[in-house]
Symmetry: C2
DNA sequence: GAAATAGTGTCTTTAAGACAGTATGTG
DNA sequence: CACATACTGTCTTAAAGACACTATTTC
């Protein structure tokens, strides 16, 4: 290991001195932001939940061209006075009536022809919501996802409506959905992300079910139980589930819950 | 498992028909791209290599305000007629004289005050280069990274020049470097990314060294060897390293090598 | 009691860590 | 020869899978 020598005094040695605050201020006063061409920037959010045996995402039907009539991810154009994270939270609130849920940035899509109108980048986010948080809000139109690949292969994802009919998506949103599913599957292996798709308290069977739906394959029940209890992330509540036609299971709670 | 009913004929049922190509064309003719405010978009690349016992990144000294004299990631403004990936490859070529190396998108930074000039998003990429690819090109000024956290904690990273003196960075580039190191450490656990930091052929000791430098901690030599040989990703070349003052090791090659 | 799932205990298999011992190069 | 590292083999430990068995609820 090459040892770094003790850092010397902050004198510059053979380098141009760092610019001063006043120099920066003078420069900024004459800076012309319009000198560079600027693309439009959209923020789209993949809002994921578990419905029965499938993953589902909140999608909105486009009422204007381009792609009128197709389903699209809820999104917005980035405002100049808000951060990317803020825009994602705004989409959740305004387009889905949701707040306080898990959100994280996914990927930025910037292919040339992805929006026929003009150059638009899409900074995509993923949000996870418990089915119990989904209520009667008419904006919360979830559609089942049909993932045509296994593991973390990746690739576009199909969308079906309530009748099981396949729906076409606008833009490159099938690919964005695919990237989201791939990311979720990857994270599930080493982070306790599954909790975000369940209510505050849940049984181990429910947690197992969520993992199986996200991963798209059955899991070993015994080792899942052992792994979860050994992880230290779960806290027994002492209460039992009710009204099951079998022996009721104990409910657990996640120790730390991060939210935006 | 809820069975999807057989997809019916593509007739719309109770939905507005999908927009036609001619409708889209008419709409696009009158679309005004300037109706929405647009931020500037930069593409910055964290070009990583291994130097001795440390990770190092290629950084350039800023010659103009803001942050004149500080080190910054090589970057460019996104052109309107190029994809994000293309802009990243262009930065590698023009600012580092590199091509054919591993590149992938990292994260998009969009905090409000991150550039004092105007609203600038930075779509950050990570590139991995073998030390053997680094030559006499004066643009290839690598600086050692000093990661002040363990594992995948995350957080800003310090940069030192050849004398071991700490250097200040421009913008939020310390955070971008930190995100890059965190990503690399995460990927190393389940993907054979370490190969990208080595020449075409290498010994197991060299591969182990790369992993240790990226992860910032020593690894068990025995299980590393077993794991690598069992993974099926390595191919023995039959040749031996030379001029070591000890028993020479066999050289291996990576089976698949992805590049841009 | 039958059915269904919860939860416990144990055996086997597999991967990782520890470490001894042999092999093969340089000086 | 000493020294350094490559490589092999074996023992131990820890985690995962398989599975038998008991427990507790509804019907």
């Amino acid at each position: 290991m090459r040892r770094a020598s003790k850092p010397g005094p902050p004198k510059a040695a053979g380098r141009a001195p760092t610019s001063s605050a006043s120099e920066d201020a003078a420069y900024l006063a004459q800076y012309d932001a319009s000198a560079f061409p600027r693309p439009s920037v959209a923020v789209d959010v993949v809002i994921v939940t578990v419905q029965g045996e499938r993953l589902a995402a909140l999608l909105v039907e486009r009422t204007a061209p381009p792609f009128r009539g197709r389903l699209a991810l809820p999104g917005t154009f980035l405002q100049m006075d808000e951060s990317l994270d803020h825009a994602a939270a705004r989409v959740l609130r305004e387009k889905a009536g949701l707040s306080g849920v898990f959100v994280e940035q996914l990927y930025t899509f910037g292919a040339l022809g992805r929006d026929p109108r003009t150059r638009v980048l899409s900074v995509a986010y993923v949000a996870l919501v418990a089915p119990s948080l989904v209520g009667s809000d008419p904006r919360q139109q979830f559609h089942a996802l049909d993932v045509p690949w296994e593991g973390e292969t990746g690739g576009p994802v199909d969308v079906r409506d309530e009748d099981g009919r396949e729906r076409e998506l606008a833009f490159d949103h099938r690919s964005i959905l695919g990237t989201a599913v791939k990311r979720l599957r990857g994270k599930l292996d080493y982070t306790p992300i599954g909790f975000q798709l369940l209510p505050e308290e849940f049984t181990l069977r429910e947690l197992l079910h969520v993992h199986e739906v996200v991963l798209g394959r059955p899991l070993n029940k015994d080792s899942f139980r052992r792994r979860m209890l050994a992880s230290g992330d779960l806290e027994a509540t002492g209460t039992m589930e009710e009204s099951a036609s079998h022996r009721p299971a104990e409910r657990y709670r996640f120790r730390r819950r991060s939210a935006v």
